[in-house]
Symmetry: C2
Subunit: 157 residues, 2 copies
């Protein structure tokens, strides 16, 4: 039976970190398309320093939250995504990044990555909420390379 020695464990951790970095692609928010007569809004993420981009369909409430964060529009009272940001700020050392990490049955899955006392905490989220938080804190947005390859495979056909 193969047992992992401390040295092997360290190797696996380094390998996982290396792969994690290189299997994630830094993105930027390039467009928000809001139609108040529709339940479905569209945001477009574009590869940072690259050409590839893809849309994500989100709800109106989340689209507004992202739009307000981009335009830095103040509100008299904290709205729900402001509250999310304030709670993270008060309970942790801050939002490190967000990752869109999976795509199953046409649904994107995201993670909010938070630092707390030297630990990294990952919390499952919809991409829309995660992107609203990232835009508020100017935190980086990553997308798994496998997803970008998948959703952009017809771009040049």
């Amino acid at each position: 039976m193969l047992t992992k020695t401390p040295c092997m464990l360290e190797f696996f951790i380094v390998l996982k970190t290396f792969l994690g970095k290189h299997l994630m692609v830094l993105m930027e928010l390039s467009r928000i398309m809001i139609s108040e007569t529709s339940d479905h809004q569209i945001i477009v993420l574009k590869e940072n320093g690259g050409e590839r981009s893809f849309p994500i369909v989100i709800g109106l409430h989340e689209a507004w939250a992202i739009d307000r964060a981009v335009k830095e529009i103040p509100t008299p009272r904290p709205l729900t995504h402001d509250l999310l940001t304030n709670i993270i700020a008060q309970l942790s050392d801050g939002l490190e990044k967000i990752e869109i990490s999976d795509l199953k049955n046409n649904t994107f899955y995201a993670k909010i990555v938070i630092n707390q006392n030297g630990n990294t905490i990952e919390i499952d989220s919809r991409p829309s909420d995660a992107i609203a938080l990232a835009m508020q804190r100017k935190a980086p947005i990553y997308v798994a390379k496998k997803i970008l390859d998948e959703v952009c495979k017809w771009d040049h056909s």
Copy 2:
């Protein structure tokens, strides 16, 4: 100059706790009135074991969140208030209570009270978000006695 001895400090802490308890009234959510054709929804809070109640006008998104929490309706992916609850659960020892603590210019102000490593952390919130969290975690809802006295003063006129 008056200096506070450890004994006096202890007295002030006990006094503050006593006053805090007696100046806050435990409430329960008694009604949610949702009209999808209106931007303004109404929830009604009622004094626990008492007769007094008062309405709060909230947004549609928050009314849905409260309604889902009350009816324990599951969703395939975490919605924004589920994410709020999950973040509080992951980063702290949990939501202790929520308080509607102030009323200025016809706007209610609330606080989310969270325990973390033996500390109590209070975070400013709109009542709607705070009540959605309280309903999800079955946490108590308090209203400052001065507010209840103010908003219910015409009840028996």
